[in-house]
Structure formats: structure tokens, C-alpha cells
């Protein structure tokens, strides 16, 4: 028993169950004292929140902070020597590389869960009429697919930035290692609460949770709100940590304009995540309070205004898509020069374009609301600001194309996914302006065209770069390469499968297929198209399954690599051995050149400082 309990995650789960039960007991007890009968909703909301705190106490995420509050000193993270081995990955670890891998696993787990939800409702859509799920379950799946994958994406970008950013900028660790571990472990119980929404009645609003429907939805809605609130805090604290790390922890000599592009992209993303995320937390909290205490923010019958919710919600949820894609676009710019063996074209412009997208991203939210009944004079300004996003994004595309131009391209597996990402993201980008333009948006709003558009942006901007990043940094984590053949099968199944799916969705969307509906009129003639989309969806799922098999099998049987597999110039490959040691950069390093000078004679980037005497 003691052996099992040494796994932090199990202590956390026990803590979550205890906290959850305590919360339900507390509310029920207080209500009983006030002479009120048992009511499920407040009890479960408080239970879910206390359960998350219970998990964090169980895993020990508060231990050091409580010690500080009591005035005790704790050892520096650099002095802590954690036991090497797999067990580190199942408990509270302060090493950013461990936390990065933990994030990646949580992300992939949620990717599988959320993807499976999509497969279930895709099967239902193949035929008209309802075959095998109920209407409420279908709606719940739609919303859960959306939010589970949003959390998965947030975890995925945290995985990439946590693992790669300190290594890329030559830092020993993140600026606040305890906060880093806390952010990760906050997301784990939050994900469990999110999944619990299915078992507590589900909800029928989709992932946006618009009132007034979300005020009347079943109790699963509240679990959804609690989960998003805490996952949002995880994202905020992670972003805070990354900003401080990037601004303050760079190796000597690494000026801002010598930073790798991925660090720039992470900086831009983190600025959005740090600030805008509060808005989704607050808006969901307000709906939650409206349900619990009858506070009429959004119910028009009681003097509230549902449009207000949409403003608050989209102020996060639109910039959120830039949170999702900017790190992925950064990965493309980061890895492309490695596989093309040429300097990145227009380094400064690419670095600034990330910040440009982040800035413009704050000013476009109302383009989701053209049909909502908001003030009409807002439409045109928001249309122009939306189309303005294409400018910094276009800079990135030109840079990629110009970088590849005349390069000696090596078509290794990460490069395949980079090319896939560029193509798919282009499709996502080109389908954007018709939606951003008011006149066409009014027709395409809420249609499958929207679904096709954002799946293309999410795949091109996140999923493909994530896979590229995993294939690329996998040897750094495990000391083994992932299988090339399986990697190529993965790519050549995923890309056509995805494109068929996305184009199919766009096509039937233009023909009038509404999104988020469980059934449609057979006279519309969409059954064949839906069948093809569903088959393509299963192809995507199968390719991901192959990827997961590759991921686990290669950890044991992959080709052993020790040196700089991709001939990268980045310090984590040139300075550190493979796999990475527990503590980064035991010898101090200095940056003496630009990061992407591939193929230039005599170009230098990082050098190891000579050891000082007597140290």
C-alpha cells in the first residue's frame, strides 16, 4: 500500500475524492442547518472545486508554500535531486522537462478522449434520423468534444513551451518551478471534473455555453464551468511563468533579437493567455452564479443581457485561437531552417508578427457576433480588424516559403509534418476571410463551413506542429528515435484524411448544413457527404492510433541516438548530451551569434564558457 501511495498522482486522486465528498457534505450540512433540503447543484459545484484543491493537497503542490507561510526555508529547486526513473512522471516534480512530458501525456490523453467523442457523433450523422445516441447525449458530446480538445490544446502548447523554451534560451529551469508544477497539477483534476460533466446530466449548449440556454441546461453545465475555471487558472499561471522565464532567464549574450522564434511565439501567446483568460473564467463564473444565486446578469426576462456574455466570452475565446496557433506557428519557423539548412527568412519580421497577431487578436472578438443582434455599427470596424490579422499571418507564410526556396530540404518525419502544417494552415487561413466579412458571414454563420474552417486552423496551427515537435524532441526525452516508417504512415494517413474531412465540412456547410445539430433533412442530400467525412474522420483517428503505438513502442525499441540527430544549431542539441541530463546546462553557456545561420560559413551561435577557477 505504501508503495502505491508513493505515486503522487494516486495521493492526488484520493485527495480529490475526499475533497469532493467534503464539499458535498459541507454544503448539504450548511443547508440542513438553515433548514433547507438537499439540493444537488450547489453541493456538487462546491464539491468539484474542493475536490480540485484536495487533489493539489494530496499531491503536495501546496507543501512548500505552506512552509514559506510558516516562515520556513525550503531547498532551492536546483539543489533537489529527484530519483531518476519513470516514477518522477507520476508525481510532483519541479523539473521543467518532466513537467513538459507530463503536459504532453495529459494533452494526448485528452486528445484521444475528445477525438473519441467526435467519432461517436460522426457515426450518428452518417444517416438522417436518430440511430444510437439520444439528443441530449449528442449535444453533450458536441460540447465536450470542443472543450476537451481546447483543454488538450492548452496542455499541448504548455507541453511544448515547458519542455523547449528553457532549453532553447539556455535557462536552468523555469523562473518559478513550484508554480510550474502547480499549474500542471491544477489541470489534471480540472480535466477530471470536465469529463465528469457527462455523468452529471451533460449539457446542451456546445462549448460556448451561451446563456440563456446555459442557465437552464442540466447540472453537467456547472461541472463544465468549474473545470474551465480551474483549467483557465492553470493556463494563466503557466503563461505568467513563461513570460518571466523568457524575459529574465536567458543565457548571457542572448539578446531579445537573438531569441529563437519559438520563444517569441511563446511570449506572444503567454501575453494573451495571461490576460484574456480571466474573461472566460469571469463570464463562466457569472453564469454559474446566475444559476446558483439567481443573479440576473444574462437572463433578459429578469433585466440581464445575453449579448454581454458573448462580448465577455469572445474577448477570451477569440484571442484563445491565437493562443492555440501561435506556438504551433513558432514551431514551424523554429524547425524549418533545421530541415532546409538555410537561415530563417526575415527573422525580425517573423518575431514581430507573433506579437502583431497577439495585439490584433485582442481587437477582433465581435466578428463571432455579427448575427447576434449586437449594435450594428460594431460590424464594420470588427470586419476590418479581423481581416487585418491576415497581414502578420501572411508575413509568416512568406517567411516560410522564402526559407524553403532553394533550400536543401530533408524530408525527415518532422519536416513532413511541418510541410503538412503549412498546407493545412493555409487552407484554414484562406477560408477565414469569407467568415470575417460581414456580408458573407451572415449566410455562413453557424454552418459546417465554420467547422471546416476552424478544424483546418487548429490542425495546421496546432496538431501538425505538435506532432512535428514530438518527433523532433522525442530523442531528447528518451534517447531513442521514433520509428520512421510508422511516422511516415502516420503522416500520409493523417493529411489526406484530414483534408477530405475539412473540405467536406466546408462544402456541405456552403450548401446549408447547420452545425451542432443531431439530425438533418434527407432531402438536403448530405448523407453521402457525411459518410465520407465520417470515414475520413476515422482515418485521422487511425493515424493517431499508429502515432501512439509508435510513441510507446519506440520508447523501448527505437533506434538509440546519442548525438545531434537533426544537425540542429540549438544549444539543447549542440551542448547537452542526448537524452537530456536532469539539470540543464551544468556548464554555463554564452550566446555569440544568431540562431538560424544554417549553411553560413563561420557562423557561431552558442559557446561553452570556460570553467572559472575555484568554483
Amino acid at each position: 500500500m505504501k508503495g502505491i501511495l508513493s505515486y503522487g498522482i494516486l495521493r492526488g486522486l484520493i485527495g480529490q475524492i475526499v475533497g469532493w465528498a467534503a464539499g458535498i457534505g459541507l454544503v448539504t450540512g450548511i443547508r440542513a442547518l438553515m433548514g433547507l433540503a438537499y439540493k444537488a447543484e450547489p453541493a456538487w459545484v462546491v464539491g468539484a472545486a474542493l475536490g480540485i484543491i484536495g487533489f493539489l493537497i494530496g499531491i503536495g503542490a501546496f507543501r512548500d508554500w505552506f512552509a514559506w507561510a510558516k516562515g520556513e526555508e525550503t531547498p532551492d529547486p536546483e539543489e533537489i535531486h529527484e530519483e531518476p526513473g519513470v516514477k518522477r512522471y507520476f508525481g510532483y516534480s519541479l523539473d521543467h522537462k518532466v513537467i513538459g512530458v507530463q503536459y504532453a501525456f495529459l494533452s494526448l490523453f485528452l486528445l484521444v478522449v475528445g477525438g473519441s467523442f467526435a467519432l461517436i457523433f460522426r457515426v450518428e450523422l452518417v444517416q438522417t434520423g436518430m440511430q444510437w445516441v439520444t439528443l441530449n447525449f449528442f449535444n453533450t458530446l458536441i460540447g465536450m468534444h470542443g472543450m476537451t480538445l481546447i483543454v488538450s490544446i492548452l496542455m499541448g502548447i504548455s507541453a511544448m513551451s515547458n519542455y523547449a523554451v528553457p532549453l532553447l534560451i539556455g535557462a536552468k529551469d523555469m523562473a518559478f518551478p513550484r508554480l510550474n508544477a502547480f499549474s500542471f497539477w491544477l489541470a489534471v483534476p480540472a480535466s477530471l471534473v470536465l469529463v465528469s460533466a457527462i455523468f452529471t446530466g451533460g449539457f446542451d449548449t456546445g462549448w460556448t455555453g451561451y446563456p440563456p440556454l446555459s442557465i437552464r441546461a442540466p447540472m453537467g453545465m456547472q461541472m463544465f464551468f468549474v473545470a474551465v475555471f480551474f483549467a483557465g487558472w492553470s493556463s494563466i499561471l503557466g503563461a505568467l511563468n513563461l513570460i518571466v522565464t523568457i524575459l529574465r532567464m536567458r543565457a548571457p549574450g542572448m539578446k531579445m533579437f537573438r531569441m529563437p522564434i519559438f520563444a517569441w511565439a511563446t511570449l506572444a501567446t503567454s501575453i494573451i493567455a495571461l490576460t484574456a483568460t480571466q474573461l472566460i473564467g469571469t463570464s463562466f463564473q457569472m453564469v454559474s452564479f446566475e444559476r446558483l444565486f439567481g443573479m440576473s446578469f444574462f437572463d433578459a426576462t429578469k433585466g440581464g443581457n445575453p449579448i454581454l456574455f458573448q462580448h465577455l466570452f469572445w474577448f477570451y475565446s477569440h484571442p484563445a485561437v491565437y493562443i492555440f496557433v501561435l506556438p504551433g506557428l513558432g514551431i514551424i519557423s523554429e524547425l524549418l531552417p533545421v530541415f532546409v539548412r538555410k537561415p530563417l527568412f526575415g527573422y525580425k519580421w517573423v518575431a514581430m508578427s507573433s506579437l502583431g497577431i497577439a495585439l490584433v487578436g485582442f481587437l477582433v472578438w465581435a466578428h463571432h457576433m455579427f448575427t447576434s443582434g449586437m449594435e450594428e455599427y460594431l460590424r464594420v470596424p470588427f470586419m476590418y480588424s479581423t481581416l487585418l490579422v491576415a497581414v502578420p499571418t501572411g508575413i509568416k507564410f512568406f517567411s516560410w516559403v522564402a526559407t524553403m526556396w532553394m533550400g536543401r530540404i530533408r524530408f525527415q518525419v518532422p519536416m513532413l509534418f511541418i510541410i503538412g502544417a503549412i498546407i493545412v494552415f493555409l487552407m484554414g487561413g484562406l477560408s477565414g476571410p469569407p467568415l470575417g466579412t460581414v456580408s458573407t458571414n451572415l449566410h455562413m454563420h453557424d454552418s459546417y463551413f465554420v467547422v471546416g474552417h476552424f478544424h483546418a486552423t487548429m490542425f495546421g496551427g496546432f496538431i501538425f506542429p505538435l506532432f512535428a515537435a514530438i518527433y523532433y524532441w522525442y530523442p531528447k526525452v528518451t534517447g531513442r528515435k521514433m520509428n520512421d516508417l510508422l511516422g511516415k504512415i502516420h503522416f500520409y494517413m493523417l493529411t489526406p484524411g484530414f483534408l477530405i474531412m475539412s473540405f467536406g465540412q466546408m462544402q456541405i456547410g456552403l450548401l446549408g448544413m447547420r452545425r451542432r445539430i443531431a439530425d438533418y433533412d434527407p432531402a438536403q442530400g448530405f448523407e453521402t457527404a457525411h459518410l465520407i467525412i465520417t470515414i475520413a474522420g476515422f482515418m485521422v483517428a487511425l493515424s493517431v492510433l499508429i502515432f501512439l503505438i509508435n510513441l510507446f513502442v519506440s520508447a523501448k525499441r527505437g533506434e538509440v541516438v546519442t548525438e545531434n540527430v537533426w544537425q540542429s544549431r540549438s544549444p539543447e542539441w549542440t551542448v547537452l548530451p542526448t537524452p537530456a541530463p536532469m539539470h540543464n546546462y551544468p556548464q554555463p553557456i554564452r550566446v555569440v551569434g544568431d540562431p538560424y545561420d544554417y549553411g553560413l560559413k563561420g557562423a557561431r551561435y552558442v559557446e561553452i564558457l570556460p570553467q572559472q577557477a575555484g568554483d
Partner: protein, 189 residues
Amino acid sequence: MSTPEAALTTYKQKLANNRLGLWLFLLSDSFVFAALLVTRFYLLGDKRPHLEQELGLIVTSVLLISSFFANRAEVQISKGNRKGFLSSIFITMLLGITFLVGVVGFEWRLAPFGPADGPEGAVFFMMTGMHAFHVLTGVIFLFIVYRNGLKGHYSPEKHWGVEAAVNYWHFVDVVWIFFYPALYLIGTL
């Protein structure tokens, strides 16, 4: 890394990290309050809820005065005056608790509406409730600092805990400077 000078350099670097982290946290938190201000003006426009003006003025003064003592606490510890530091923290805490009693204990009872009575009630209770929650965490934070101060944990060179608690307290105060006119002064009844 063994010499005292090196240890102080490390401490100073960590201090700079901590400061930036705290400011980013406050920036992030200010978006919550901004959202609530937007809600207030979107839903109520140029109407304001019917509230006790005298009480509002009193709690506002109490909170503003508390910030003076918070600042004094930080100045005193950086000068090495432990006694002045402790008394200032203690007064800040007391004033913070007075503010909480004034808002939650009195204004919430005296308001002619409950949280479920229309948008006025919703806005008023959400804004004051969210702010009071921050004041409460600030008081807890100050209490921790006070307790550690009694144990003699802070020195003129190393008192990040004091600085953080005090800066957080100022932030909560500044938020109220926006909330007070939004709730009590702007608009007609």
C-alpha cells in the same frame, strides 16, 4: 555560489523575477475587475444602485488610509525599524477588516435589494463580493507577513514577503478607487 556576495546576487536575481511575476499577476487579475466594470456599465448604463452614501464614503476612506499604513510598513522594514513595521502591518490589517465588516456586514444588509433582484443586485453583489474576496486574501496575506515578522524573519535587505503583500494591498485599493465611483457616484438613481 558559496560566497555571501554570490548568494546576494542570486537573491537579487530571484527578487527581480518575483517582482515581475507579481506585476504580471496583478495585470492578469485586473482583467477580472475590468470585466466587472464593463458588466456594470453595460447592464446599468447611467443608472446607479441605491446605496448608503455615508457608509460608502467611510469604507472608502478606511481602505485608502490602510494603504498609507501598508506603505509605511514597507518603508519601516527597509529602514530596519521592526517595531514600526509590525505596528503598521497590524493597523493595515485592522483597517482591512473594518472595510470588510463595513461592506459585507453592513452594506450587504442595508442594500434595498438582494443578489437575485434584477441586474442592480447582481452587479452590486458581484462587484463588491469579488473585491471583498480580494481584500480577505490580502488580510490573510498580511497576517502571514505579520506572524513571520513577529518571528523576526525580515531584514532591510530581504523582505520580499512584505513587499509582495503590500503591493497586492495597494492593487486591491486601486481597484476600489475604480469601483467606488462606478457603484456610488456615477449615474442617477
